[in-house]
């Protein structure tokens, strides 16, 4: 469990996420701002009543991609610690499915980094959501991650 007070928390979990614990973890005495994104389960999709969601992940790759996002945040923004936790399995209405907390000396960097983190996570981290309705279930449409173009070797050969 990465829980040293000096490090980021990057996790996939199967139990409810505790936002307050993560906020306490990231806040340092040099920080003047802590921004939290709490992605929670909505009770409908385009007016259709949602009962609950189920998430699955390609776990080792998802964790690696989340670590990459954290490293990128540290490069791009003047921030302190980050917590990025995604829950898997069945999640009920109103519960957080993803929590991102960024601490920084000043608020602008904390806001920007938090926004960048959730936008990037939604495009690049291999996690999938299935929505359960009263009359059936569907996989959420999602976004296709950018994949590398064809390799140079193959281009030369063709």
């Amino acid at each position: 469990m990465p829980s040293s007070s000096k490090t980021d928390i990057i996790q996939l979990v199967r139990k409810p996420i505790s936002p307050s614990k993560l906020v306490r973890h990231v806040r340092a005495s040099s920080d003047g701002a802590v921004v939290t994104f709490d992605g929670c389960v909505r009770d409908n999709t385009r007016g259709r009543r949602t009962l609950y969601l189920e998430y699955e992940a390609y776990e080792p790759m998802a964790l690696a991609k989340m670590e990459e996002i954290a490293a990128e945040l540290h490069r791009k923004f003047s921030i302190g610690r980050i917590a990025m936790v995604h829950r898997l399995g069945r999640i009920e209405i109103g519960e957080p499915s993803v929590l991102i907390v960024v601490a920084a000396p000043h608020r602008a960097a904390a806001f920007e980094a938090c926004r960048y983190a959730i936008d990037t996570l939604k495009k690049t981290v291999p996690i999938w959501k299935k929505e359960f309705f009263e009359d059936g279930a569907v996989w959420a449409e999602g976004e296709l991650p950018p994949a590398p173009a064809e390799t140079t070797a193959a281009k030369r050969a063709s």
Binding site: Y55, V98, K122, T124, W128, K129, A147, A153
Partner: protein, 87 residues
């Protein structure tokens, strides 16, 4: 065929693709030198319902997104990934 001319790779399916493939994991024996795209064609020839997802998925090789023409190596871990929807 000699033992050196084939190799095995592990293939993982996720989300709707796992449901279409009817399994989450499979070991596939292939001729050496086959590409990621050719591997998908082999999987789709065994499970024709997979074919129509080819244009709406990306592939990974050893947990990195990879181009369809990437050559495969023995014991690679390949995954076919539908559009992601975390968050």
């Amino acid at each position: 065929m000699s033992v050196h001319s084939t190799m095995r790779v592990k293939v993982l399916f996720f989300g709707r693709l796992r449901e279409v493939a009817g399994r989450s994991e499979q070991t596939v024996e292939l001729p050496a030198g086959v590409s990621l795209g050719q591997l998908f064609e082999i999987c789709a020839s065994r499970r024709p319902e997979l074919a129509r997802y080819r244009s709406s998925l990306v592939a990974s090789r050893n947990q990195e997104f990879a181009a369809w023409d990437s050559p495969l190596e023995p014991d690679d871990e390949i995954a076919f990934l539908p559009p992601v929807s975390g968050g």
